[in-house]
């Protein structure tokens, strides 16, 4: 690139570059006050993120956070972002004025090699030696001056998570900015094997000359791994962990949920007492409180689930789980790196699908994207919990496991196994051949920072509540409207809701859904439920409230009006149904074509109908109709 535009003269720009999991995003958050996701595994950041820092002298500097990489020779879409940002190849963006190379001070060899590559790019460098707290604890001795001289860049030691060394880093960057060398075109070329080996030798020499091995190397990780990665117990522990997680989601959150449920019940009766009988009371009590309230009740469950996921992500267990599952995933034709995106999809398929960017091969990536929504996302929890609570009897098996919790676990398992099966079919039918090589760093274990855990939980909770306000509330006003108007004619015999638009739509569509046991209320709930899965719960709340069931809780109403077979069919439908517009939109964006979201929608809806049909018909045959 000889015609690279010169960096733009106004705002100074720096980019954070380094190996995966060295703390770039933690540093970015410390610098800019952002709240980007930080977790203890490689491949958390898959996009370019922008922020700004104000120096002590009042100067604004734009900061870029980039995905981690071992070399500039990008292999996967996330690494390509880093390469293009560093080389100034992104549309409308020049190369950064200063490259801040972030290094894990306890693991320097690979980053020293990356630094040699970065030097060829021709932008001035500053090296941030992060995780310096751990280096000091281990008694690692680094000759900062000597190293700085040899690589020709100032070195700053930082502890990003404790915001230590941040002012120092900014000051150094400002010094370099004050004295920028004339712009020069990049001399970077893709290295061949011989050149990589030579660079490693150079890095190794730097290590020998300037870094003394730790006096107290970390042995904890090795000891924990000898249990968690044990060929037999390791797998058992993983299963126990998942089982505990789902039991906790189902039972641990119950008291808090009851409390919220009672709160909304009192609110509804308070409103009913305060407002005169009429449309306004209907809208507030049936539309807003019965609808939105029925979803907000699930906040404690969402928080419990995220609490577990955050602990897994922050401790460093995530990569171990991927290691343990690799053989099973490989058997289904999945790439080893598919595991983390799939596990993230338990929270929500959208970040899961985005994190498939770490997968280099396009077909491997597409397979993972297409099956990610089969993982039970947190938006299904309200649907599952409500229906299970309504139709599955409350029983305790073997003295400790609740039957309802086991059904919940079964639904999760159904999602996982069908995802593996779909992947296998795709591999065998559409694209053959083996996956690309799989190599993954197993990070050292770190105790999760309680403050970080709380902050992440708060963010997840806020997202859930905001969604209830922004998506569910307006939709429920609409559903209330549709199920209230037109009003029943004078002298009508049936319930008023039968004459409303929603009633008519539901009755019109009922024949399509009759074979799978859905009544017209369920059918109506599916329509706004296309927007997001938990909306169906809110819609059921509103439809039944308008229909006159407001006196009891929604679960009790469903308990009376749904058969076990219908309830189970509804659950089976929700294991597969592609009822999330945002997921389809993100698939469109990530694959750059409408083809894949359309394929995803078609195969999922077919599976949903098929599964609900089989479940309903067999349940009826067994006498649960």
């Amino acid at each position: 690139m000889t015609t690279a535009p010169a960096p733009h003269p106004g705002l100074a720009r720096i980019a954070l570059v380094g190996n995966p999991n060295c703390g770039k995003t933690a540093l970015f958050n410390a610098l800019t006050g952002a709240r980007q996701k930080v977790a203890n595994y490689a491949g958390v950041t898959v996009e370019r993120k922008e922020g700004a820092v104000v120096t002590a002298s009042g100067r604004h500097i734009q900061v870029l956070d980039l995905p981690g990489t071992y070399s500039l020779r990008a292999r996967s879409p996330d690494e390509a972002v880093t390469r293009d940002a560093v080389l100034g190849r992104l549309a409308g963006e020049a190369a950064p004025d200063v490259v801040v190379c972030v290094a894990d001070a306890t693991n320097l060899r690979l980053v020293l090699r990356l630094i040699l590559e970065l030097k060829a790019v021709g932008r001035p460098l500053v090296l941030a030696l992060n995780m310096y707290d751990i280096a000091q604890r281990q008694g690692l001795k680094i000759d900062l001056e000597g190293l700085s001289r040899e690589i020709g860049a100032p070195i700053v030691t930082t502890v990003a998570t404790r915001r230590r060394g941040i002012e120092d880093l900014v000051a150094r960057v400002e010094e370099v900015l004050a004295d920028l060398p004339p712009f020069q075109a990049s001399e970077w070329r893709e290295l061949d094997a011989g050149q990589i080996k030579a660079a490693h030798r150079q890095a190794q020499n730097l290590m020998r000359a300037h870094v003394r091995p730790p006096e107290r190397p970390d042995t904890l990780t090795g000891r924990i791994d000898s249990v968690l990665l044990h060929p037999v117990w390791g797998m058992g522990l993983l299963l126990v962990l998942l089982l505990v997680m789902f039991q906790a989601v189902f039972t641990g959150a119950a008291p808090a949920m009851d409390l919220i449920d009672r709160g909304f019940g009192q609110l509804a009766s308070g409103v009913a007492a305060a407002l005169p009988e009429g449309l306004l009371r209907g809208l507030v009590a049936d539309g807003v409180i019965a609808g939105v309230g029925s979803v907000l009740v699930f906040l404690p469950q969402i928080l419990v689930l995220f609490f577990f996921i955050i602990l897994l992500e922050d401790s460093g267990y995530m990569a171990r789980a991927a290691f343990l599952m690799d053989r099973i995933m490989g058997g289904a034709g999945l790439h080893g790196r598919a595991f983390i995106p799939l596990l993230s999809s338990f929270a929500c398929a959208i970040p899961g699908i985005m994190s498939t960017r770490v997968i280099d091969n396009r077909r491997d990536r597409l397979t993972t994207i297409l099956i990610a929504p089969l993982m039970t996302c947190s938006a299904r929890i309200p649907v599952y919990t409500l229906i299970i609570g309504a139709v599955v009897p409350q029983k305790t098996l073997w003295g400790f496991a609740s039957l309802q919790g086991l059904v919940m676990f079964g639904l999760y398992a159904a999602g996982i196994f069908s995802a593996l099966a779909v992947s296998l079919v795709m591999r065998k039918v559409f694209w053959r051949g083996v996956s690309e090589p799989f190599m993954m760093e197993l990070p050292t274990y770190k105790a999760p920072d309680p403050l970080n855990v709380l902050r992440s939980l708060w963010m997840r909770g806020a997202i859930f509540v905001k969604r209830a306000g922004r998506v569910i509330l307006p939709l429920m006003v609409l559903v209330w409207f549709l199920s209230t108007f037109p009003e029943a004619p004078i002298g009508a015999t049936g319930p008023a809701i039968d004459y409303s638009l929603a009633g008519r739509i539901g009755h019109a569509l009922a024949p399509i859904f009759a074979p799978i046991g859905f009544n017209w209320q369920m059918t109506v709930a599916l329509i706004p439920g296309m927007a997001a899965r938990e909306v169906a719960v809110a819609a059921l709340g509103t439809v039944y409230a308008v229909g006159g069931g407001a006196a009891t809780s929604l679960a009790a109403t469903l308990h009376q009006s749904w058969s076990l077979a219908s309830g189970l069919a509804f659950l089976a439908w929700y294991v597969f149904a592609p009822q999330c517009v945002a997921t389809l939109a993100v698939v469109r964006r990530e694959t750059n074509s409408w083809r894949w979201p359309v394929i995803m929608f078609a195969y999922m809806i077919a599976l949903a109908y098929g599964a609900a049909f089989i479940v309903y018909q067999s349940a009826v045959a067994l006498g649960a109709g």
């Binding site: 071992y70 070399s71 020779r73 292999r75 306890t106 693991n107 060899r109 690979l110 290295l191 061949d192 094997a193 990589i196 080996k197 490693h200 030798r201 190794q204 990780t221 090795g222 791994d225 000898s226 990665l229 044990h230 060929p231 037999v232 390791g234 797998m235 990569a319 991927a322 290691f323 343990l324 690799d326 053989r327 099973i328 490989g330 080893g336 091969n361 051949g433 083996v434 996956s435 690309e436 090589p437 799989f438 190599m439 993954m440 760093e441 197993l442 990070p443 050292t444």
Partner: protein, 106 residues
Amino acid sequence: MTAPIPTPDLNPPKGEGVRMRLRDAPVGTHGVIVDVQAEIDGLDHGVDAGELQRRLLEFGFVEGARIEVIHEGGIGHDPIAVKLDDMRIALRRRDAGDIMIAQDAR
């Protein structure tokens, strides 16, 4: 997988023992990487041999690095986790055929 017979040596210098491919190394093997090649081994890796070699090199599998096989999966002894200098890395045995190691003599 059977462990190769170690060469007896009273005063063992490091990395001078039996040579083997990382693919065949049982858990507990420790030594030094002596070579990383780009061999056509008849196995399909999803990428060509040269590309596989470069990826291994970029991850730090390079001549002179200390290596120890620390864990393996329960099914078919695969994948393996190795300690490579200061890092822990997981990889599949099929992709580890080009890494030649010399065990520390016992």
